[in-house]
Amino acid sequence: MILCVAIVGQQNNPLYLQSFAGGDDVLKFHYIVHCSLDVFDEKASILRRTGTNLNDNFLGLLYPAEDYKVYGYMTNTRVKFVLVTSDLELKDLDIKTFFQRFHAAYIDVTSNPFHVPGKRIASPMFRDRVKTIVSSFGQL
């Protein structure tokens, strides 16, 4: 089950975070997503050190957090997408597809002339669209 999705900006500021877990655990997901930025940095550092070019936006499993798994995806403009799931047996391909759809939704919302890039996303339409993507993933 997808418990939380988030978008983090270039300055590591949160742009969007939606929890599907309910209850009082929302704050916990904020901590999980924030800590996952360390792994983004670690992966970027490894790539720099080895001189490898990142051809794939999907970074795979970032780290497990107690009962969850945290996956990451980074756009070419260093915007980060994070997925927190409680399903421990997910296939990478499914998650990658999810991120691509999530990314497409993000592109659409930032293409809105009334949206200022870099600002928090507060669009209700985007929220509904993310919810649809998550539910179509069969996890909601």
Binding site: H30, D38, V39, E42, Y63, R120
Partner: protein, 845 residues
């Protein structure tokens, strides 16, 4: 990990017993201990003590095994490591063996006695006949008789040389080799024996299978056969899961606790063996499997705190195992690829941190359970399991509670109520917060070596919470202050808000009114994120702000609070002041307009009692008072600029800069806020990411982008202007016309004197202000004034001029001009510094 018994934490070492010739025991013990593999020694001082290694006769293979009272016997490992030797070495003195019949009979008697004792346990036997040196004969008949009597092989009956160093060494090595070989054989046979009983299936309870597999694993460890040991432990673990087939909630707490304690031991063995064989990834996978299997088996709700204690302990122990067992070299990414294990999971800090989380969960669930327990428990009831050692004995089986020795053997186990009461009262003494802090400190030490900065801050948050719960508010405040900086920097509103909530409480507990107010205001001024489900702004917070901005007088003895907001203050969201002069330069005494813009992000309107604007010229300071009657509205609406326009009259020339504004909130609080220029204003780090439309502090677009908080105050207007017009460039030796204009400003000039001088200046200095020097100028040029001849011809001649020129009356705003000529005998230029000259002369006037 230190909580686990020693016999579980360290691999077992084969045990050999020695009897006879006690003077040789220390030497033999030391030698056996340095053997590879080492052998521990149980030295029996004389034959009368042999009985201690005896045991009951093993049950026949066909015997039916009843359902056990527990899974693993609590002292089984300890017993086999320290009390049940695999092999017994009997040492006889040669003189005794070769001695008279009485001595021989004594030897035989000892041997028979030993054989009777060890028969039940299948302990191997070695007989060593000790003689000082190689010299001297041993009675072969008696040796053979001994061997026959003990039913020993030739190799198990050896000669031990005790006084020849070389031979002693050889004898010790030989004895060690024989004992090691026999010990190995013993443990193998024991294992086979257990296996045979297992295969007979004369048991119905799966617990027996668990126990037997555990024993076989442990026997394999005695033999250092790690692969076999691992296999048996894994089998035991799998069988234990079958024991747990019934829902945990329907089983008694004692039962659930016992089974999980057994699982812990089995898991510990498996993990240790995997890690020591370099299979870190497999160990992590196994741990995940272990947690996944047992985490849901929490048991009855009243004992759930014991479950979280257990889960936390698993993480803590595994972290310790990784710390001690993992090789220092990082696991290659190739090994991790496709394994489902991340590098983070190979770090001990990861497990310490989770263990600390469970410790907090343990504390929370215990507090709830204890409240219920207190409500329903009989206040007169006694914790019988906390009695003295003579009344309360250790458990018979792993994971079971203590026994009440004063009862009949069948009733020694505690009743569920007694067990629960004991657990509750024991848990009450447990320092949860301190334990969690220790775990978090260990995690912090581990993470420091990595780049996981944010994780370290998260650990700081958790540590701060625990300090808060432990009542150590100063430590909590110190930590939360640190982590709040990180969340401010990266604009994580919810995380900052959570830290500020704690900071408010710590400030309240420490009696820090100012800090409490600062944290409250900062919290209130954070963006309310519509997509967040975290309810942050509580009614209490609103009340606090209302109290600050209200009119309530301070309690007696409490000083008013003065807040400071500079350009990097986190309180910029509470109040920021932006000022812009409408002009860039102004004359002294002239009025200039200043726009003062105030902004608050507090959720409620903020009414300022009064507002003082301070400049670097104190005379310009002004104070505004909130008064709707006088058209001065100092009520700030949330997120909207309040723009006030005031006129400022600068007094002194130079720079006039607006420095800060002081706003009064209610009667007791003032806020000193450093002002900003619209041109260089930095947005609030939290609000800059908000999707709301950005408004400018000043309506005028030019001022919004270029407005400054500084205005240049020019010099005072001169009362008299003197202009000198030299008419251009003159040639060397040429007489040049110089016109002098005197213009009065605002008043009439009655009379005056004008001193004209010519100075020599360097060409590049021509326009620089310079006060003329009369002394040096005389030499460089002569000045002539035209004068009409008195002969009536009307001709005008030039007369050399010396001294001061008389200025006639000049009416207000009128002017007077005259002409002079400069004869330049050398390379001299007429100075064009007319302003300075005029100023100078004006002063003379």
């Amino acid at each position: 990990m230190e909580d686990l018994p020693e016999e579980l934490r360290t691999p077992p070492v084969a045990l050999a017993a020695l009897v006879g010739m006690p003077e040789l025991h220390p030497q033999i013990s030391m030698s056996l201990h340095t053997e590879q593999p080492p052998i521990n020694t149980l030295a029996l001082p004389d034959f009368s003590k042999v009985a201690v290694i005896g045991g009951k006769e093993g049950a026949p293979l066909e015997a039916r095994i009843p359902a056990p009272a527990g899974v693993l016997k609590a002292d089984w490992m300890h017993k086999h490591r320290t009390k049940v030797p695999a092999v017994l070495a009997v040492l006889f003195d040669r003189e005794q063996v070769n001695g008279d019949p009485a001595q021989w009979m004594e030897v035989c008697s000892h041997l028979d006695n030993v054989r009777n004792v060890i028969r039940g346990r299948n302990t191997k036997l070695v007989v060593a006949i000790v003689q000082p040196t190689l010299h001297g004969e041993i009675n072969d008949d008696r040796t053979a008789a001994l061997r026959k009597r003990a039913e020993l092989d030739n190799k198990c009956c050896m000669t031990f040389i005790s006084h020849d160093p070389t031979e002693l060494k050889r004898s010790l090595a030989r004895l060690g080799s024989i004992l090691g070989e026999l010990a190995n054989l013993y443990y193998k046979e024991q294992s086979r024996r257990v296996k045979a009983r297992l295969d007979k299936k004369n048991w119905t309870a799966t617990e027996i299978a668990v126990r037997f597999n555990f024993k076989m694993g442990y026997y394999a460890e005695f033999r250092r056969d790690w692969v076999t040991a691992l296999r048996f432990y894994e089998t035991a673990y799998t069988l234990l899961l079958e024991v747990f087939s019934n829902p945990a909630e329907t089983q008694s707490i004692q039962r659930v606790v016992e089974l999980k304690a057994v699982a812990e031991q089995l898991h510990f063995k498996v993990s240790t063996l995997l890690l020591h064989s370099g299979k870190e990834v497999e160990a992590v996978k196994w741990f995940k499997h272990h947690i996944a299997s047992f985490k849901k088996l929490s048991g009855p709700p009243e004992g759930i705190f014991m479950h979280w204690a257990w889960v936390g302990q698993q993480h803590h122990v595994f972290g310790d195992l990784l710390k001690t067992g993992r090789s220092t070299a990082p696991t290659s990414t190739a090994v991790l690829a496709g394994s489902g294990v991340t590098e983070r999971e190979l770090q001990p800090g990861f497990y310490y941190q989770i263990a600390a989380s469970y410790m907090a969960g343990r504390r929370r669930t215990f507090e709830r359970a204890f409240a219920t327990f207190e409500s329903f428990d009989n206040p007169d009831a006694v914790d019988v399991l906390a009695g003295p050692p003579e009344e309360v004995g250790p458990p018979l089986y792993v994971g079971q509670g203590p026994r009440v020795l004063s009862r009949m053997s069948e009733e020694q186990s505690a009743t569920p109520d007694e067990y629960m009461r004991h657990a509750m009262l024991t848990e009450r003494q447990f320092p949860h917060s301190r334990a969690a802090i220790n775990l978090l400190t260990k995690a912090h030490e581990q993470y420091k070596a990595t780049q996981a900065t944010r994780m370290i801050y998260y650990l700081g948050t958790q540590m701060g919470r625990e300090y808060f719960h432990a009542g150590e508010h100063e430590n909590a405040k110190r930590l939360f202050d640190t982590v709040a900086e990180m969340y401010r920097k990266e604009a994580w509103v919810e995380l900052l808000a959570a830290s500020l909530e704690y900071l408010r409480e710590t400030a309240k507990h420490l009696g820090l009114s100012k800090e409490f107010l600062e944290y409250s205001l900062e919290l209130a001024a954070l963006p309310e994120e519509s997509w967040s489900e975290v309810a942050r702004r509580s009614t209490a917070l609103t009340d606090v702000i209302a109290a600050i901005t209200g009119t309530d007088a301070l309690p007696d003895g409490e000083a008013p609070i003065a807040l400071e907001i500079d350009l990097v203050s986190p309180l910029r969201g509470v109040l920021s002041v932006c000022v812009a002069f409408h002009e860039q330069a102004v004359k002294p005494g002239m009025s200039t307009r200043l726009t003062v813009s105030l902004l608050t992000h507090l959720p409620h309107p903020l009414e300022l009692g009064d507002l003082e604007i301070h400049f670097n010229q104190n005379a310009c300071n002004l104070a505004l008072k909130h008064s709707l009657d006088q058209g001065c509205d100092l009520k700030l609406m949330p997120h909207q600029w309040k723009r006030l326009e005031v006129d400022i009259i600068a007094v002194k020339s130079g720079k006039l800069e607006c420095l800060f504004a002081v706003a009064r909130l209610g009667r007791n609080t003032t806020v000193r806020c450093q002002v900003e220029s619209p041109a260089s204003r930095e947005p609030d780090p939290f609000w800059q990411f908000e999707p709301a439309l950005e408004s400018y502090p000043v309506k005028d677009k030019n001022l919004a982008f270029l407005g400054q908080k500084v205005v240049q105050v020019e010099e005072v207007e001169p009362k008299v202007d003197i202009e000198i017009d030299s008419g251009g460039t003159g040639l060397l030796g040429e007489t040049v016309l110089v016109r002098i204009h005197i213009r009065s400003r605002g008043h009439a000039i009655d009379a005056g004197e004008l001193q004209v001088s010519v100075t020599e200046v360097a060409s590049n200095d021509a326009f620089s202000p310079k006060t003329p020097s009369t002394g040096s100028s005389a030499a460089c040029a002569k000045i002539f004034v035209p004068a009409r001849l008195k002969d009536g011809s009307g001709e005008t001649l030039l007369w050399e001029f010396q001294g001061s020129m008389k200025i006639p009356y000049v009416e207000a705003d009128g002017s007077w001009s005259t002409s002079t000529y400069s004869l330049e005998p050398t390379t001299t230029l007429i100075s064009c510094g007319v302003i300075n000259t005029s100023t100078y002369n004006a002063r003379r006037l």
